[in-house]
């Protein structure tokens, strides 16, 4: 075991047993897991750009901004367990010319600090980057207090706020790099940081432009975040049944790539959305808002039903709520009347 892999097995939140693992990432080197690239990528950005500031709220060991702290101690701030102060302080720094990246659990930024994000970051049009990691129910049996299944809905109603979900480690790198000169405030949603790889290289991305990962003519699955990987796996399973599935990584929830949604409806005839989020208000709702203005096609929002999650390890929860590949495959077959 290399030192890097050894590091992957230690630490408060990133080191987890198989039982706690969100999704299988066995064999994925640490350098290709989001939790391990966040501090490194931000550190590299700070090497080149004096505007970069990184801050967290007593979670440097969880989000691995420790690497940034070690490389740029003068531009790293740990605010302790005081998230509201952190977000507003980031806005103050942004008003003085910085681009602050404020990282904490999605539940404790997007949900706890929704007003600070709206009033101090978005209304002011300042380049604050709120990094909400451990989103969805990736915290598993930590329970609802540590889940964020409402954050996309809350964030996407804030005027002027760009809302982006990261897919894997390479996608996270792309999002961070592109965020540096992006106008206005951003909410960047991350998974647990141990998300399986979708992109073998750092992809070219444009905020507001979806990425079509697989072509298909029978169905489109529009997915976001770590669920993109499940969508691709499901598409493979569906292909074995003769169903050709287009898979779209809708990484930017706002501004939404409406053209890609209309194309999915027109060209594949059936659309399913897939997200680790309450089906009210998230990606599914955003896509539905576009589809109701298109010609009618079979459509299914798939995500967390409108309830608080059971207690359980992440993998167990994904299986229970049919958010793993077999579950997604089954839901797609239902949508197509092939169940």
């Amino acid at each position: 075991m290399s030192n890097e892999e050894g590091a992957a097995l230690s630490g408060l939140f990133t080191g987890v047993s198989d039982l706690q693992e969100s999704r299988s990432v066995k064999g994925t080197p640490a350098s290709r897991l989001p939790a391990f690239v966040l501090g490194e990528e931000l550190g590299d950005m700070a090497d080149r750009d004096p505007r970069v500031i990184v801050m967290t709220a007593d979670l440097a060991s969880a989000n691995r901004t420790t690497e940034f702290r070690d490389r740029h101690p003068d531009r790293f701030f740990d605010f302790g367990i005081a998230e509201k102060n952190m977000i507003t302080t980031a806005a103050g720094m942004a008003s003085a010319g910085h681009v602050p990246y404020a990282a904490t659990f999605a539940a404790f930024c997007a949900i706890l600090c929704a007003e600070q994000i709206r009033t101090d970051c978005a209304y002011t049009d300042l380049p604050v980057r709120v990094l909400g990691h451990h989103s969805g129910m990736s915290m598993g049996f930590y329970g609802t207090s540590h889940h964020a299944l409402e954050d996309i809905a809350m964030m996407r109603t804030i005027a002027g706020l760009t809302v982006v979900c990261t897919t894997d480690a390479n996608h996270l790198r792309a999002v961070l790099r592109a965020s540096l000169d992006h106008h206005g405030a951003m909410y960047i949603r991350m998974g647990r940081g141990r998300d399986p790889e979708v992109y073998a290289q750092v992809p070219e991305i444009t905020f507001g432009k979806a990425i079509r990962l697989r072509e298909g003519s029978d169905l489109t699955i529009i997915a976001t975040g770590a669920e993109v990987h499940a969508a691709l796996e499901a598409a493979g399973a569906l292909a074995e049944k003769g169903i050709e599935t287009r898979v779209v990584d809708m990484h930017t929830i706002k501004p939404l790539d409406e053209a890609e949604i209309r194309a999915a409806a027109a060209e594949t005839g059936a659309v399913m959305t897939l997200e680790e989020h309450n089906i009210i208000g998230g990606l599914g709702s955003a896509v539905a808002e576009v589809l109701v203005e298109c010609e009618r096609v079979p459509f299914r929002r798939h995500g967390m039903p409108d309830e608080f999650a059971l207690i359980g390890p992440p993998a167990g929860l994904y299986a229970h709520y049919r958010l793993d590949a077999p579950g997604v495959t089954a839901v797609a077959l239902e949508l197509l009347g092939r169940a």
Binding site: D74, A91, G92
Partner: protein
């Protein structure tokens, strides 16, 4: 202290600052009439503080509102923006005529200030409890940028009910940001009653001191005392944030409003309007009330 040269080059006297405080109160009454409602009394309590800050203390240049080395001022008690706008106009940040459409459809000027629309406004405010965190961020940004500006934050005493204020106070003490200056306009009232009755915040000075702040406590209507407090701010390295608790009287300057619960938001019309204008023009009378009254 008779003469004082502000950093932006104005020669100011105590008489001049009293005149500017009067100007703030008169403009507040005039603009409120345009809007049909306004925060008279919590603006009046801060009139001397605002005048001393803008005409006697802040290192600013109205010709260059975004000057990176300027001192910042954040009005955390954003509901008294009506008293700030006339000062910004008077200093030349924008045409004073723009205020004649205060709060009308499409105006840059609402009840709470918008930094995107108003030159000279360093940060938008309105939701109480945020401003000290904003100022902490601006103050911390001076470190990697190696700048020597100060950041001033005005809070109300009622505002200290908000928990985020204490998150920021704790962090400011922890990070030792001495270029942060908080001014609490302790006017003793909040909307529902006396601050001591609704949610007690005293002893403000001792509470902040316990968080690692240097504290001064002054009469916020005494211009000499306000300027002396500014002069006492340390220029050397102390590693401690600075607090000025300004004891004031909500509604100061209009006797029927002083420490009255009725005038947090109001609208003077007709003879009442004319009488208040005359009262303000005549200058400050002795304080009419020493206790909160309904």
């Amino acid at each position: 202290m008779a003469e004082r040269t502000a950093a932006h080059g104005r020669n100011v006297s105590k008489e001049f600052l009293e005149e500017r405080a009067k100007f703030v109160r008169l403009e507040t009454v005039r603009l409120t009439k345009i809007a049909g409602a306004g925060h008279y009394s919590s603006t009046f309590s801060a009139a001397e503080l605002l005048a001393c800050l803008y005409y006697g203390q802040l290192r600013i240049n109205p010709a260059e509102p975004d000057w990176p080395d300027r001192d910042r001022f954040v009005l955390s008690k954003g509901h008294i923006a009506i008293g700030l706008y006339p000062i910004l106009a008077d200093l030349g940040y924008f045409d004073p005529k723009l205020l004649d459409d205060y709060t009308r459809l499409g105006s840059p000027f609402g009840d709470h200030p918008d930094m995107k629309k108003i030159p000279g406004c360093d940060f938008s405010s309105g939701s109480l409890g945020h401003g000290l965190s904003v100022c902490l961020g601006i103050a911390l940004a001076a470190r990697p940028q190696k700048r020597d500006y100060r950041v001033y934050c005005m809070l109300g005493d009622g505002e200290l009910n908000e928990g985020q204020v204490w998150e920021a106070a704790m962090a400011a003490g922890h990070f030792g940001v001495q270029n942060l200056v908080a001014i609490v306009d302790a006017n003793r009232l909040q909307i529902d009653g006396a601050t001591s009755d609704i949610m007690g915040v005293e002893p403000i000075d001792e509470r902040f001191a316990a968080f690692g702040w240097d504290v001064q406590r002054i009469d916020g209507h005494d211009i000499d005392a306000v300027l002396a407090a500014f002069d006492a701010l340390p220029s050397g390295t102390t590693g401690r944030p600075q607090l000025i608790v300004a004891d004031t009287i909500k509604g100061r300057g209009v006797q029927m409003m002083e420490l009255s619960l009725n005038w947090h938001v109001g609208n003077l019309v007709g003879r009442d309007y004319d009488a208040v204008i005359e009262e303000l023009k005549a200058g400050l009378k002795p304080v009419a009330a020493t206790e909160v009254r309904p």
